[in-house]
C-alpha cells in the first residue's frame, strides 16, 4: 500500500532528524568554552554575573535535563539566542533565508538545465567527439571549485568587462554571476548521472521496440527515454540540494551576498555556536524534507515502483 510506504518514509525521516538533532546536542556539549562568558565578555561583566547567567541558561543542570529542555525548545521552533547579537537564532535564519533561497533556486535552474543538456547530449551522441566535449565540460564542472571560478568570473565579468556587479544582492544583475558559477558546479554531477541513466534506458527493450515500430525519433526520445530518466534527475537534484546549501556558503562568501552561508561563516569565526547549530539543523531539516518530497514524488511518478510497493 502506498500509504504504508509514505508512513514508513515519514517515520524514517523523523528518526533521521532526531538523530541529527541529538548529534548536534552532543557536539555542543563537547565544545570547550563557556557560553555565559561568551555572551557577557564584551560588556565586562564580573565573575558573579557570569555565574548567574550560567544558571539562567540552564548550563548547570544535569545533561539529560538540558537535553530534554533542548528537544522541547526545538519542538517549539526555538533555536536559542545568538551569543553575538543576542537575537533569536530562528529569526536570524528566517531573515537570511530569502537571499539563500533565491540563489539556490536560480542555481538549481541553471545547473539542472545545463546538466540535463550535457548529459542527454553525451548519451545521445555517445562515443563521438560531442560526447567527449560534453564529458569534458562535465568533469570541469565537478573539478572547478566555486571559490576559484567565482573569483575568475568576478575578475573577468565584473572588474574587466564591468558587465555585472561583483558583490551584493537585490536584483537579477546581482544574481546572474553567482547563479552561473554555482550552477556550473552543480551541472557536473547532474550531467554525469543523467548521461548514465539515459544510456541505460536507451538499452531497454521497450525503447528498442518503440524504435522498431517506426515511431519518430523525437517521440521515442521524449516519451520513452526522457520520461523514465526524469525521476532519476529529480532524485539527483534533491540529493544535490545538500551540496547546494553548502555551495551557497562559498558562493555567498565570494560574491559577498547575504544569506545563510554568510551567517554560518560569521558565526563560526565569532564562535557563536547557537547560530552554527541553528544553521546546520536548518540545513538538515531542509535536506530531509526535500529528499522526502523527492522520494514520494518519484513513487507517484513511477508506476512500476508503485506496483512494487503494493
Amino acid at each position: 500500500m502506498i500509504a504504508r510506504y509514505v508512513g514508513r518514509r515519514l517515520f524514517q525521516a523523523a528518526f533521521v532528524l532526531w538523530l541529527a538533532v541529538t548529534l548536534a546536542f552532543v557536539a555542543m556539549q563537547l565544545t570547550p568554552g563557556d557560553p555565559a562568558q561568551a555572551l557577557l565578555a564584551a560588556s565586562g561583566a564580573s565573575k558573579a554575573e557570569i555565574a548567574e547567567r550560567r544558571a539562567q541558561l540552564g548550563l548547570d543542570d544535569p545533561v539529560l535535563m538540558q537535553y530534554a529542555h533542548y528537544l522541547w525548545s526545538l519542538a517549539r521552533a526555538d533555536l536559542g539566542q545568538s551569543w553575538l547579537h543576542g537575537r533569536p537564532v530562528g529569526q536570524m535564519i528566517l531573515e537570511q533565508l530569502p537571499a539563500t533561497a533565491e540563489l539556490a533556486v536560480s542555481a538549481t535552474l541553471v545547473g539542472t538545465a545545463a546538466g540535463l543538456a550535457l548529459g542527454v547530449l553525451g548519451a545521445l551522441r555517445h562515443s563521438t567527439w560531442l560526447d567527449t566535449a560534453a564529458t569534458a565540460v562535465t568533469v570541469l564542472g565537478l573539478s572547478t571549485p566555486t571559490y576559484w571560478s567565482g573569483l575568475l568570473a568576478i575578475l573577468l565579468f565584473s572588474l574587466e568587462l564591468e558587465w555585472f556587479p561583483a558583490t551584493g544582492q537585490g536584483d537579477l544583475r546581482h544574481l546572474l554571476l553567482p547563479s552561473l558559477v554555482l550552477g556550473f558546479a552543480l551541472s557536473g554531477s547532474i550531467a554525469r548521472l543523467v548521461r548514465a541513466r539515459v544510456l541505460e534506458v536507451m538499452e531497454e527493450p521497450f525503447v528498442q521496440a518503440a524504435r522498431a515500430r517506426g515511431l519518430p525519433a523525437r517521440r521515442v526520445f521524449l516519451v520513452h527515454v526522457l520520461r523514465p530518466a526524469l525521476p532519476t534527475a529529480l532524485t539527483i537534484v534533491a540529493l544535490q540540494f545538500g551540496f547546494l546549501l553548502g555551495g551557497a556558503v562559498i558562493t555567498e562568501s565570494v560574491f559577498v551576498r547575504q544569506g545563510l552561508g554568510k551567517l554560518a561563516v560569521e558565526a563560526i569565526i565569532w564562535r557563536d555556536l547557537p547560530v552554527v547549530r541553528g544553521v546546520i539543523l536548518f540545513g538538515a531539516l531542509a535536506y530531509v524534507l526535500v529528499n522526502l518530497a523527492a522520494d514520494l514524488a518519484q513513487a507517484w511518478l513511477n508506476p512500476r515502483l508503485r506496483e512494487e510497493l503494493a
Binding site: A117, W163, G168
Partner: protein
C-alpha cells in the same frame, strides 16, 4: 532539451543587455519645477556607507564607533570640542562653571530647545539621561565609564543642572562632547523601553527616521533645528535625507562608491585609495584618528618578554616603515609611541626611540643570553627556543601585519607562533589570562586619559600586564588635573616611560580613508576623527 542550453545562454545575454549597467543615480535629476512663488526644490539624498554592522546602536549602551557616524547628527551634546583649537565650546549648555575643588560642574542650559518628538529640553532631561546611563540595569558598555568618578546629578532649576564627582576628573568635558553622552528624549526612552534603539529621538540637525537592523538606517533633516554650536558652519542641514548602508567586507566598499551606489564610503582599503584618487569623480578624505595607535602589547610577565632587553630588541628588529608602505600603502604615519600623533598630549620625542636597527637588536638578544647554539636558525637559551605566541584578531590588517612581523623577526632568529585569527571575545579571554606574548589593538579617543585603560595596573585592557606604581600615579594624577600644561607634562612622562620600558610595539596611527564622490562637499569630521558633522554636508545635483 538539446536546445535548452543555447536558449539559456541567449536568455542571459538578453537579460544582461536590457539592463543599464549603471545603476540609477542616487540624486534626483535636475528637472526642477519651473520657478514659482512657492518654489520647493527637489529633495537631496545621500547614501553613506558604513562598515561594521553593530548589533546594538543605542549610544548610551553600545560601544562601537560605527553607531556614532550617523548618530552624532541625531543628538546634541552639552559641549562640543573644536578639533582645530582643542577648546570646548557651548552646545546644549550655553555656559558652565567648575567648583574650586573641581568636584562640581554646573551647566547653564540653552532655552528653547526641543527634541524631535516635541518634548522640551531642560535640566530634567539631562538628569534623566545621566541617570539612565549610570543605571546598572542599562548595562552601558561605554557611556557609563566615560563619566569616571560620577556621583550624582542635581537639578537646580529648569535650565541649570549640576554634576557631582567624587574626585576631580579632567576628561569629563571631553566625554560630555561625545555622542555616547548625547541627550535623548526622556519621553521616547520611556515609551519605547528596550526597543528605544529602533526609535531614537534627540535634538540634533537630523531625525532618526528609520532603522532596519543590519540593513539600513535613514536620517531626515530636522527643519526646526536652530541651536547648533559655533563649530557647525550651517544652521540647519543642507541635505534632506541620508541613508546609511553596511559594507562589512572591505572588497565591497570601493566598488560601491565607484558604481554610484553610495556617495561617501568610510574605511576604503589602502590599495583602492590610490586608484580612487586618480579618478576625477572621486577623492579620498583622510581623517586621522586620535587615540591609541595600532600597537602590539608585549606581555611583560611571560618569559622571554619579561626581559626588557628582549622587548627592546623586538622593536629595534621591526622595520615599521616597510609595514606601513607595504600593507598600508603609506596612507597612515608610522607610530612611535602609544598615542597617535594628533592626540592632545602627544610627546613628539618618542619618534627618536627605536629606529629600525637589526644590528642593535641582535646584540641586545646576545646580551640577554639568546643565541643560536644549535644552528637551526632560531635563538635559544638553556635549551628553550625563542618562540613568541602572537594572538591576532581577523580585522584591521592584523593578519598581514603579523605575518610581516614574523618574517622580519625570523631573520634575527626569533620564531613566531601565530595560529589563525581569533574572535574578539576569545582574544579578550586570552589576553585577560596573560596567555599571549603579543596582542595588537587600537582604540580611538580624543583625550589621552585613554592610556589609563591600557597601562594602569588595574585596567581591564592592561595587556602588557604591568604593575608600575609610579606609572599608576602619573595616570591617576593626569586624570585629576585640569591644568592643561600639567596634564601634558604628565602624559609626556607616561609615554616616555612606556617606550623606555618597551611595553608596546607601535605600528601605525589609524587614518580613516573616506572615499567621497565629487558631488558631495563639506564633509568635516569632529575631534574624534570618526564622526562627521553631517549638518555641513552638501550634495551637488546631477547635471
Amino acid at each position: 532539451m538539446k536546445r535548452l542550453l543555447p536558449m539559456l545562454m541567449l536568455l542571459s545575454i538578453l537579460i544582461a543587455g536590457c539592463c543599464d549597467p549603471l545603476p540609477p543615480a542616487t540624486f534626483t535629476s535636475t528637472s526642477r519645477p519651473f520657478p514659482s512663488s512657492d518654489f520647493t526644490p527637489t529633495p537631496i539624498r545621500l547614501v553613506y556607507g558604513l562598515t561594521l554592522a553593530p548589533s546594538g546602536i543605542d549610544p548610551h549602551v553600545n560601544a562601537s564607533s560605527e553607531l556614532g557616524i550617523p548618530l552624532t547628527s541625531v543628538y546634541d551634546t552639552l559641549v562640543y570640542l573644536n578639533p582645530d583649537t582643542g577648546d570646548f565650546v557651548p552646545g546644549l549648555a550655553e555656559d558652565w562653571d567648575v567648583s574650586e575643588d573641581e568636584l562640581v560642574y554646573t551647566f547653564h542650559l540653552r532655552e528653547g530647545v526641543t527634541f524631535h518628538d516635541g518634548t522640551p529640553f531642560s535640566a530634567e532631561a539631562v538628569r534623566f539621561n545621566l541617570e539612565r546611563i549610570t543605571s546598572p540595569d542599562l548595562a552601558s558598555q561605554k557611556a557609563r565609564f566615560m563619566l569616571g568618578p560620577y556621583e550624582r546629578v542635581e537639578v537646580m532649576d529648569e535650565y541649570t543642572v549640576r554634576i557631582h564627582l567624587s574626585e576631580p576628573f579632567a576628561p569629563l568635558l571631553d566625554s560630555l562632547s561625545q555622542v555616547y553622552l548625547g541627550m535623548a528624549s526622556p519621553t521616547a526612552v520611556e515609551t519605547w523601553g528596550s526597543d528605544y534603539q529602533l526609535h531614537q529621538v534627540g535634538t540634533g540637525p537630523f531625525t532618526f527616521a528609520e532603522y532596519v537592523p543590519q540593513d539600513h538606517l535613514l536620517l531626515r533633516r530636522n527643519p526646526d533645528y536652530a541651536w547648533g554650536p559655533e563649530v557647525y558652519q550651517h544652521e540647519t542641514a543642507q541635505v534632506d535625507e541620508i541613508e546609511f548602508r553596511f559594507f562589512v567586507d572591505p572588497a565591497t566598499r570601493s566598488p560601491a562608491l565607484e558604481t554610484g551606489e553610495v556617495d561617501i564610503m568610510g574605511e576604503i582599503p589602502p590599495q583602492d585609495a590610490a586608484r580612487l584618487e586618480e579618478n576625477d569623480d572621486f577623492r579620498i578624505e583622510a581623517a586621522p584618528i586620535p587615540g591609541v595607535s595600532l600597537m602590539f602589547f608585549l606581555n611583560t610577565t611571560r618569559p622571554p618578554l619579561d626581559d626588557a632587553k628582549v622587548r627592546q630588541a623586538l622593536i629595534f628588529a621591526t622595520n615599521r616603515q616597510a609595514i606601513v608602505s607595504t600593507i598600508f600603502r603609506d596612507t597612515p604615519p608610522v607610530a612611535y609611541g602609544p598615542l597617535a600623533a594628533n592626540t592632545f598630549g602627544y610627546e613628539p620625542e618618542v619618534q627618536d626611540y627605536y629606529a629600525h636597527d637589526p644590528a642593535r637588536a641582535a646584540s641586545l638578544l646576545d646580551e640577554a643570553g639568546w643565541q643560536d647554539s644549535d644552528g637551526d636558525g632560531v635563538r635559544d637559551k638553556n635549551g628553550e627556543p625563542l618562540v613568541l605566541d602572537m594572538t591576532l584578531m581577523g580585522w584591521g590588517y592584523m593578519p598581514q601585519v603579523g605575518q610581516l612581523l614574523a618574517a622580519q623577526w625570523s631573520t634575527l632568529g626569533i620564531e613566531v607562533n601565530a595560529p589563525s585569527p581569533v574572535s574578539y571575545s576569545e582574544a579578550l579571554e586570552i589576553a585577560g589570562e596573560g596567555r599571549h606574548h603579543l596582542i595588537p589593538f587600537n582604540l580611538s579617543g580624543s583625550d589621552p586619559d585613554i592610556l589609563r585603560k591600557f597601562f594602569h595596573s588595574q585596567a581591564s585592557f592592561n595587556w602588557s600586564k604591568l604593575d608600575d606604581a609610579e606609572l599608576d600615579n602619573w595616570l591617576e594624577a593626569a586624570a585629576r588635573t585640569s591644568d592643561r600644561e600639567g596634564r601634558e607634562a604628565l602624559y609626556s612622562q607616561i609615554q616616555l616611560r612606556v617606550m623606555n620600558e618597551a611595553l608596546v610595539l607601535p605600528i601605525r596611527d589609524y587614518v580613516n580613508l573616506n572615499g567621497v564622490s565629487d558631488r558631495v562637499q563639506g564633509l568635516r569630521f569632529d575631534a574624534q576623527g570618526w564622526f562627521p558633522w553631517l549638518v555641513d554636508v552638501t550634495g551637488a545635483e546631477v547635471q
